[in-house]
Amino acid sequence: MALSSKDRVMLALKGKKDEIDRTPVTCANQTVTVEQMDNLGIYWPEGHSDAEKMAQLGMAAYKQCGLEVADAPFDQAVEAEILGCEVDLGKKKESIPSVPFHGYKEPGDVPIPEDFLEKGRIPTVLKAIEIMKKDVGEEAPVISHTNGPFSLAGHLGEINKILIMILRTPEKVKEFAEIGIDLIADYANAQFDAGADVVTVEDMLASTDILSPQMYDDFAAPFNTACIKKIKGPTILHVCGKGDLIVESMIGSGATNISVDMATDLNKAIPKTRGRCTIMGSVDTIKALFQGTPEIVREQVISNIRQGVDLVAPGCALSPLTKSELIKAMVNASIEYFAE
């Protein structure tokens, strides 16, 4: 009997290569596109704050393109929002909510609601996970998303100010990052309770495009490790940008899997993961999936498989302007490669 996408992804995440028929094609980050929205007649920004709409959009890449994941939420502002940061949900159907907030001066200024799991859009996300679990939960893995503690600190203190603080008042940055440890872990655990199979900890602001590897080790890595330790299910740690110099620290976080950006050298990263965690990546979300052709996508997928990724995935969140044709090409490349 053929494996379901859910089984394939879950086995691959745990490194059980011998038990699967082919490398799964999934995504650690958001997968919704305008083309999928048009097909459903469901759009952002409503899909960011309505549980049913969020669920339908979260399953669209699976149902419409065969991408082996159902996911939510689609933005990285949920946690910041419940901590009092101004959030802009956007006006257009391709708008991703952002945090235009100018930053708390002091970590002590951040209001942490006691019942934060009932605040903001958290109930929406949890409800969407439940709906997706009921609908496709037997076939596709439900992968939900949280911020990493450093990235949340970047929202709370405002990233430009946080970067200056790193050199001037580093203890303060650590205090900002500390806020996320329990909060994110509790949120992730609530996502598991709602039906998530895997939680991605997205640490987009900890990219080496922004932080030096040493800064990553000081201000991002220990907080990811502490947070992931408290999360009760399988985790993916995703960091954007060129990860070559932080792969070792990403592995050290204790995440089940690390998701790396296309700028990361897989030939160097993959051997480091062996026996310690699994790795997914890294189809180029711009040059292949956004501007590319089915042939370019196919070549990248096959290259990733030959390099030895445990799961094929886009190197980052899918652009909402990605064509379904190219998402399908990504999935089909693995199916065809293993059929040959």
């Binding site: 956007g90 708008s95 430009n160 970067l163 200056i164 800064m215």
Partner: protein
């Protein structure tokens, strides 16, 4: 009228293509090589490199005491220091936080020099910077703006999530030598061709340097005026070319030479 010396040519020799793995370097070695030999200037430059505004201020005052004029202090001290910072960033030895505090220290130093002069130093030219409409990610734009200012350009920083019309109107009214746009996301970079088209309708011809996360050369070169800004520290070189009157087409074609031998990776 007082004019800042054009250091762009000196900078060009500093920015050579560099492979971190083939040629590991330490920050100390780069700093040692790049520091001016005259102790009056080296202290000022070191203050910038360390992002230590207080050290910049005190060493500038000491330099004035030794009879050095403020403009020479800007060129041979502050800008010399910022050149080293750019070099460290290019080599992957400095990251954004260090560049940001260096630019802060530099700005304090310029202020101290201008106070001594009694008037603002003449700027090399005007550049307008902005982050695309719908996009709030402004780290790149802040670095571009800081590096331009540190290299003696006047910068009108329009901020983030800037409507197309605001960019167009500012360019029309202020007549900058160059305009830059940054965008992190594929969904927001679509504002750039709209800006270029609007400027064209108005008969305005200007180099429009676009860069940021999702922005690729292919995307930017699909519209007139567009020049793909690859790295933030290329901005002062591109501005120097624009101020010299080079056209957007020439800057696009000569990008590698202008920015110091950066090789495009497609």
């Amino acid at each position: 009228m007082v004019i800042l010396a054009d250091k762009a040519k000196d900078l060009r020799t500093v920015f050579r293509r560099y492979s971190l793995e083939a040629e590991p370097a330490s920050p100390d070695a780069v700093i040692k090589t790049g520091l001016p030999s005259d102790p009056n200037f080296s202290k000022v430059a070191k203050g910038v490199i360390d992002g230590d505004a207080a050290a910049v201020e005190s060493s500038l005052k000491a330099a004035f005491g030794a009879g050095i004029d403020p403009l020479t202090a800007i060129n041979d001290g502050l800008i010399a220091g910022m050149n080293v910072v750019s070099d460290l960033y290019e080599k992957g030895l400095y990251y954004l936080p260090q560049v940001m505090i260096a630019a802060d220290a530099m700005a304090v130093g310029i202020g101290v020099c201008e106070d001594k002069l009694g008037h603002p130093a003449e700027k090399k030219g005007l550049v307008v910077t902005h982050v695309a409409e719908g996009d709030i990610h402004d780290i790149g734009k802040e670095i571009v703006s800081a590096l331009l200012a540190a290299n003696g350009y006047e910068v009108i920083n329009l901020g983030r999530d800037v409507p197309v019309e605001d960019v167009v109107n500012t360019v029309r009214e202020k007549k900058p030598a160059m305009v830059t746009g940054t965008a992190l996301m594929t969904t927001t970079m679509t504002a750039f061709p709209r800006i270029a088209a609007r400027l064209k309708e108005l008969g305005i011809v200007i180099p429009f340097v676009c860069g940021g996360g999702a922005v690729t050369r292919e995307f930017v070169e699909a519209y007139d005026y567009g020049i793909h800004g690859v790295k933030a520290h290329h901005a002062p070189h591109l501005a120097a070319a624009a101020v010299k009157g080079k056209s957007w087409k020439t800057i696009r074609e000569d990008y590698e030479d202008i920015t110091g031998g950066y090789a495009y990776k497609w």
